[in-house]
């Protein structure tokens, strides 16, 4: 995929739309993979830029985050407005605006379009979800609508590529024929006072901006503009507002009232809606899925099915990857001479990185499930159901989506907290998001459940235990949030206000893109951070390879044919390696959790990235032995004895396996998460706090699990 360098005369459009209108799908279809993420200081939103060539014109697209209105109330929303109006110093003014509107909910979606109409830029209207509208009995006369508005109106079905060429044609012909939209009607008093403010704004002004300043309830935009453009706006705004109030105009609702009545008048002749309110598919399904009792039942059922499927579907795929790794390992061993280099390659890199890559199928399935739930519209229902629960912890349903996303990975989870307007709510959600069991914990769960909680239990049992492990996060996170909200982050929460989209078939393109991005970043991580950690661990376990009496372990092992003697030498070597020494010195700390020094070492090594633990266990338990696949590591763990001494009892019993899983469920072992918390909170205080509280919690919980477990199991 190569970057197209736009010639000097490229045409720039900004893409605007409400959330859940298929804006991202349209952007992806228009630009293909040819896009990048723009970087703007001081804000946390991701703004994508892309381009495409059509009829030898280069079109650049700026993807503005989904919004119901261009009324900025936060720095993130301000950026969107700045980009649309060309007020951001990093971007030129767009040449035109492309507004995407949901045809099945046209009036509400046109609200944003009426704001776009006032920017003074040419506008194209793309209508999505036409099939949904038709199914609901709504008929739209596109031609009449286009004539009424005086701008191109293009019905599209982006994921089926319907209407996309027509849309591209319309964009290209906009270069020569500027189609200006009509200006929505307001009361004469509003128009007069808006003109006065417009006069002050000079060449940066537009009807939209002037109106915005007049209607704004909290003075946020005015403050920002006064600072950025060095203008004195406050007196004129205040005067205008007073004048409007004196004639009995309610400033809080006048904008919405005027826009909606203008829309209604304009749209009415072009749209035919069914007389009687037919209760559509979405309402019928919602009667069950959002029901207090039934809804909850289905929520837990869906979650349970998801985690069971994770186990059942991924197994054969994981075995293939394991065999592939096996094959490469054997190939390398037969090609390379025995020695340090081969050991580094096979035991360190291949074993470590391969041991992590084996979990790719699970990542794919998990992200697939989550993006299907999101794209079909269920995720918003889950947030609705959970709002009541979250309110008890002082949070709102909006915190639920970041928490559920953290089930895939806490990094996007923490980023998803940006939708939470209330600062304290947002911080509390960030602090507890890493408690949710992420996909990196999955390898640990899968390995230990497979080794100790599968054989001799029913077919449903492994999935059930996995579900319980995830349950730890789902229960601990809200409790921790409640504690934070009632102590260090005291304050009233923001009200929960969220639109529930219509149910629809999830789009393959959207789901595939999510899976592709997640897998790529997982593999990238495995290839960099994890590979480096693995090499380091291999090294501190390999060196020094000479015993205190001056004997060379590798040579000694090669010299003897006796298997038992080889194993004894290996154990001695590992014990006296750098890592072995550290591990033995921390053994008193981990012993109450039911772990020996090797598990302690593996846990310690996984603080930068927790998925490393599986590979480390492979190295610690198997260096020199043939542990080329997951199944073998599983068997080695089942048969491991304390300190590798066959006379000692078995290392792992159910309580110690559980204590390890509980520790990993709650511990903060992820450098990337701490970095993203630093980025989002702007201080090291909160990542440090997260690390300390989670690690202490994990230790105590693991201790409790093992000690109580020993009494019963």
């Amino acid at each position: 995929m190569h970057e197209i360098t736009p010639p000097l005369k490229s045409f720039r459009i900004a893409l605007l739309g409400n959330p859940n209108t298929g804006k991202t799908t349209l952007f992806n279809v228009l630009t293909g993979l040819n896009h990048r993420v723009g970087n703007y200081p001081g804000v946390t939103v991701e703004i994508k830029k892309g381009s495409f060539v059509h009829q030898s014109s280069v079109i650049e697209i700026l993807d503005i985050p989904g919004t119901y209105s261009l009324a900025p109330r936060s720095p993130d929303e301000l950026l969107s407005v700045e980009l649309v109006l060309g007020l951001n110093p990093l971007e030129k003014v767009p040449d035109a605006l492309l507004v995407i509107a949901d045809a099945s909910n046209l009036e509400r979606n046109l609200y944003l379009a009426t704001q776009a109409f006032e920017t003074g830029l040419p506008v194209i209207l793309a209508l999505s979800m036409v099939d949904l509208a038709t199914a609901g009995g709504v008929q739209i006369n596109f031609k009449a609508l286009s004539e009424k508005l005086g701008i191109p109106v293009v019905p599209i079905h982006a994921s089926k590529r319907k209407g996309v060429d027509e849309l591209k044609n319309a964009i290209v012909s906009l270069q020569t024929e500027k189609c200006m939209p009509p200006v929505p009607l307001f009361l004469p008093e509003v128009i007069n006072n808006r003109e006065k403010i417009l006069g002050l704004l000079g060449d940066k002004g537009s009807l939209f901006l002037a109106g915005r300043l007049l209607f704004e309830t909290d003075g946020f935009l005015a403050q920002q503009l006064e600072r950025k453009l060095a203008l004195s706006l406050a007196p004129a705004i205040l005067e205008g507002r007073k004048a409007l109030e004196s004639v009995g105009i309610n400033l809080v609702s006048i904008e919405a009232k005027s826009r909606y009545s203008w829309i209604r008048e304009l749209v009415q002749p072009c749209i035919r809606k069914p007389e009687n309110k037919v209760t559509g598919f979405t309402d019928r399904v919602d009667r069950i899925l959002t029901h207090k009792v039934l809804g909850m039942f289905f929520f837990f059922l869906i979650m349970f099915l998801m985690f069971t499927a994770l186990f059942v579907l991924a197994k054969p795929l994981m075995e293939w990857i394991g065999e592939g790794k096996n094959f490469v390992g054997q190939g390398l061993e037969s090609l390379l001479p025995e020695g340090m280099f081969r050991s580094l390659l096979v035991d360190g890199l291949l074993e470590g990185v391969g041991g992590v890559v084996v979990f790719l199928p699970q990542i794919v399935i998990l992200f697939g499930f989550l993006s299907i739930l999101e794209d079909c519209g269920y995720m918003a229902r889950a947030a609705f159901l959970m709002d009541r629960v979250m309110a008890k912890c002082g949070l709102s349903g909006k915190s639920f989506i970041p928490l559920l996303s953290s089930v895939a990975c806490a990094v996007p989870g923490v980023l998803a907290t940006r939708v939470i307007e209330d600062k304290r709510d947002r911080l509390a959600t960030i602090l507890v998001a890493p408690l949710m069991s992420c996909s990196a914990r999955l390898p640990v769960y899968v390995l230990f459940i497979g080794a100790f909680l599968t054989e001799g239990y029913g077919w449903w049992f492994p999935g059930f235990v996995l579900f319980l492990m995830y349950g730890i996060g789902f229960i601990t996170a809200p409790i921790a949030a409640m504690l934070f909200k009632s102590t260090i982050l005291k304050g009233k929460g923001a009200p929960f206000l969220m639109e529930l989209p219509v149910y629809k078939m999830p789009s393959f393109t959207v789901v595939f893109a999510r899976i592709y991005e997640a897998s790529l970043s997982f593999l990238k991580r495995a290839g960099t951070l994890i590979a480096a950690t693995m090499v380091l661990i291999w090294a501190v376990l390999y060196f020094p390879y000479v015993s205190s009496t001056g004997e060379n372990y590798p040579e000694l092992i090669a010299a003897t044919e006796n298997k038992e003697q080889q194993d004894a030498l290996l154990l001695d070597w590992k014990k006296n390696s750098f890592l072995g020494r550290v591990g033995r010195s921390i053994e008193p700390v981990v012993k109450p959790l039911g772990w020996d020094w090797r598990i302690g070492v593996a846990t310690l090594a996984s603080f930068p990235a927790r998925e490393v633990v599986v590979g480390t266990l492979g190295i610690v338990f198997g260096l020199g032995k043939d542990t080329q696949d997951e199944q073998q590591l599983l068997e080695i763990l089942q048969k491991a004895h304390w300190n590798d001494d066959p006379d000692q009892p078995l290392l792992f019993k159910v309580p110690s396996a559980l204590s390890l899983m509980v520790f990993f469920a709650l511990c903060c072992q992820c450098g990337s998460t701490l970095m993203v918390i630093r980025q989002e909170t702007g201080t090291w205080l909160w990542p440090a706090f997260t690390f300390v509280y989670m690690t202490s919690l994990a230790y105590l919980a693991a201790l409790l699990t093992f000690q109580v477990g020993m009494l019963f199991l």
């Binding site: 009036e107 309830t217 609702s253 979405t282 309402d283 009541r388 929960f496 206000l497 639109e499």
Partner: protein
């Protein structure tokens, strides 16, 4: 006038909004989404967090926790 707070509306009942008051930021956000004087809505799921139908959209609202009051007049 038999205006009642939105929270009193039963599931399945239709009503017309007669007054929205409170925190101006929230009132204007609600009005952008179509919740304003004169609009018709249907209570889909009643409760502490309720689900409303307004026009073609479904809006979920944390009723008890928002610092704004919505008064409605039930319609038959």
């Amino acid at each position: 006038m038999n205006d009642i707070p939105l929270t009193m509306l039963e599931s399945g009942e239709w009503a017309e909004v007669t007054n929205v008051s409170g925190n101006p930021n929230i009132v204007s956000r609600l009005s952008e989404l179509g919740v304003m004087n004169g609009c018709k809505l249907c209570m889909l799921q009643q409760g502490q967090t309720c689900l409303l139908k307004i026009g073609e959209s479904r809006l979920s609202l944390g009723c008890l926790y928002s610092d704004c009051t919505i008064m409605v007049r039930p319609v038959i």
